[in-house]
């Protein structure tokens, strides 16, 4: 071997970070301001959008990682949302004393318990779903879409069997109702909670992905799964873990989403899944950061247009998706492979 190439230096070469997409939500909210014309309304809408965006992100992040890691697109993701929400409904029903008392501590405890049960439940369900439904159809997109869709139908019907088909009321705990008034601005308490939960999930996810060994393997797997396998890691086990975590997150998102809407039907997953798909397409399939920005963008678009032109709320998000795909056909943060 000859000498090391002269150009090598002590620091590793780093990728230049792509800041452009991060500006998008700021630009979008700035554009919306003159159309809305009223700062108070604008703040309310923006906070609502952030809260909604966080919920969508919590749901979508698992889905996008599962896709990135194993090339599996799970159309049955909506089932975990619904199951999580219904489990939380049952737990909150049992703990109605803690929910109705006007104390933030007890309320949060009840909610925490409900969320834990929902997450464990949907995590287990996700594990079973992966074993039974997804495992036999790796690498076959067409069958994956069909089979996970079939899983969704069965899961929704089972919810009807277990919890009944009628619409349920999902009451917010007492201390989380109403709004906090700061000056002219009224901000609903639950929205603050949703934003906090979303940020915690995002931060945890970034930490795990960027600072732990497992995160390193996941990122490597998203880039090139075969190479990770060739290096002796069992990517399948890693993938099951990610699938379970993604399902649990969908359960968490489902609880938040049901509390946000305060009503619950077995079709709750289907309604939000459309937005989730738009988000993961916008973000770039497999990219957590893109998913985060995409979720905020989609939620902003949904909230602003719901206020300005209520009839075209969802259509506006499709236009947003088209615009972003024109700009970057692979999504905001394209993931290297495929």
């Amino acid at each position: 071997m000859t000498a090391v190439p002269a150009s090598s230096s002590d620091t590793l070469p780093t990728l230049k970070h792509d800041w452009l997409p991060i500006l998008l939500p700021i630009v979008l909210s700035a554009i919306a301001l003159p159309f809305i014309g009223n700062v108070t309304t604008w703040v309310t809408l923006t906070v609502a959008a952030l809260a909604m965006g966080m919920m969508i992100f919590v749901i979508a992040s698992g889905l996008t990682l599962v896709f990135g890691l194993m090339d599996v697109l799970n159309f049955g993701h909506g089932a975990f949302i619904a199951v999580g929400a219904y489990m939380a409904l049952s737990v909150l029903g049992l703990l109605s004393g803690w929910v109705q008392v006007d104390s933030l501590g007890w309320n949060l405890l009840a909610l925490g318990l409900a969320v834990s049960v929902a997450m464990v439940g949907t995590g287990l369900l996700g594990w079973a779903f992966e074993r039974i439904i997804v495992k036999p159809v790796y690498g076959q997109h067409l069958k994956q879409i069909l089979i996970t869709m079939g899983g969704l139908i069965v899961a929704e019907q089972l919810i009807h069997v277990i919890w009944g088909g009628d619409q349920k009321a999902m009451a917010l705990p007492t201390a989380l109702r109403g709004a906090i008034v700061i000056g002219d601005f009224a901000i609903e308490r639950f929205r603050i909670l949703a934003v906090v939960v979303g940020l915690v999930v995002f931060a945890t996810m970034l930490l795990v992905l960027n600072r732990t060994r497992i995160g390193l393997l996941i990122r490597a797997g998203v880039e090139n799964a075969e190479m990770v396998e060739a290096l002796g890691y069992r990517i399948r086990r890693l993938f099951v873990g990610v699938f379970v975590a993604g399902s649990a997150l969908a359960g968490l998102g489902g609880v938040l989403w049901a509390l946000y809407r305060e009503t619950l039907t077995a079709a709750i997953g289907g309604d939000i899944m459309v937005l989730v798909f738009i988000v993961i397409i916008i973000g770039g399939l497999g990219s957590v950061g893109g998913c985060f920005i995409g979720a905020i963008l989609v939620a902003m678009m949904a909230n602003y247009t719901a206020f300005l032109l209520p009839k075209v709320a969802l259509a506006s998000n499709i236009l947003l998706m088209v615009a972003i795909l024109m700009w970057r056909p692979q999504g905001l943060y394209p993931v290297a492979k495929r």
Partner: protein, 353 residues
Amino acid sequence: MLTSILSGDFPRSRVLTAILLAILVGLALAPFLFPGAAAINTAAKICIFIVLVASYDLLLGYTGIVSFAHTMFFGIGGYGVGLALYTFGASWGVIGVGILAALLVGVTLAFLIGLLSLRVRAIFFAMITLAVASAFLILATQFSEFTGGEDGRSFSVPQVLRPGYRLLEQPLFGTVVNGRILAYYLVFVAAVVLFLVALRVVNSPFGRVLQAIRENDMRAEALGYRVVYYRTVANCLAAGMAVLAGAMSAIWLRYTGPDTTLSFAIMLDILLMVVIGGMGTLYGAVIGATLFIVAQNYLQKLMGLASAATEGLPLIPKLVHPDRWLLLLGILFVLSVYFFPTGIVGRLRGKSG
């Protein structure tokens, strides 16, 4: 003669041939064999769904792309004819204009969606069509002054197709030949013609390229076929056929609304019909649609009996409750994707299929 009618694509199985013939005869003579409004409604629905499912199979079974926007095109057809008749009154010209306008809108939309999503990545297509179809459903219900919103629109059809019209003075084989029966035969003939056209398409050189793309799109591209072009054309063709199915549905029901044409439940029904009948063979569409719609109407009664019989046992009555019939079909769907992806038709044809 028969070869050219069926485009050389025979059922290739005795049992299958017998079943198909039974369905054909049953549908052709439905008004005389099964008297009563419910039976003829079921028969017309089967005809309409055979066309719809066959057009979907063109995408899913032959080209290997999953679309969730098929009900949107079905709805465009229904609304095109329905709104035209509602606005301009009942005449054949209006129906023609409605169908043409709907075809134009549907095919353009299919072209745009295809251009946007089929170019980038095939898997985008499933998600994008899902999103677009949801948006369309919401738009159709929101612009209620134009579309009638959730309630939809009822309208009248030309005189000849109305129940009051009598073609013959005397009943034929004990059945009064009124406008409803004429309308049924209009739907039936349209279904037969469209089905044969679809058969022609999939057995043409164009159809062979579609199947090549389904099997291996890289290879098809390498052989010199523009995959995007073929996929987009298949998408437009399927959309156009779905539009026509929607028009048939509107003429038959004399009503068009979100629940009968646009809802996601119908999309799931179509998926179940294609997969259970058999992907990649148009005869599967016939079998799937017939089986599914008959099951929808009669399985529920059977399940009601089962539910009543098992009363007192835990959980079982709920599982076989008539409203849970989709549960059974959902499980059947999952099982058939695993164990016999070629569906009933594939099973009947055996290895040769």
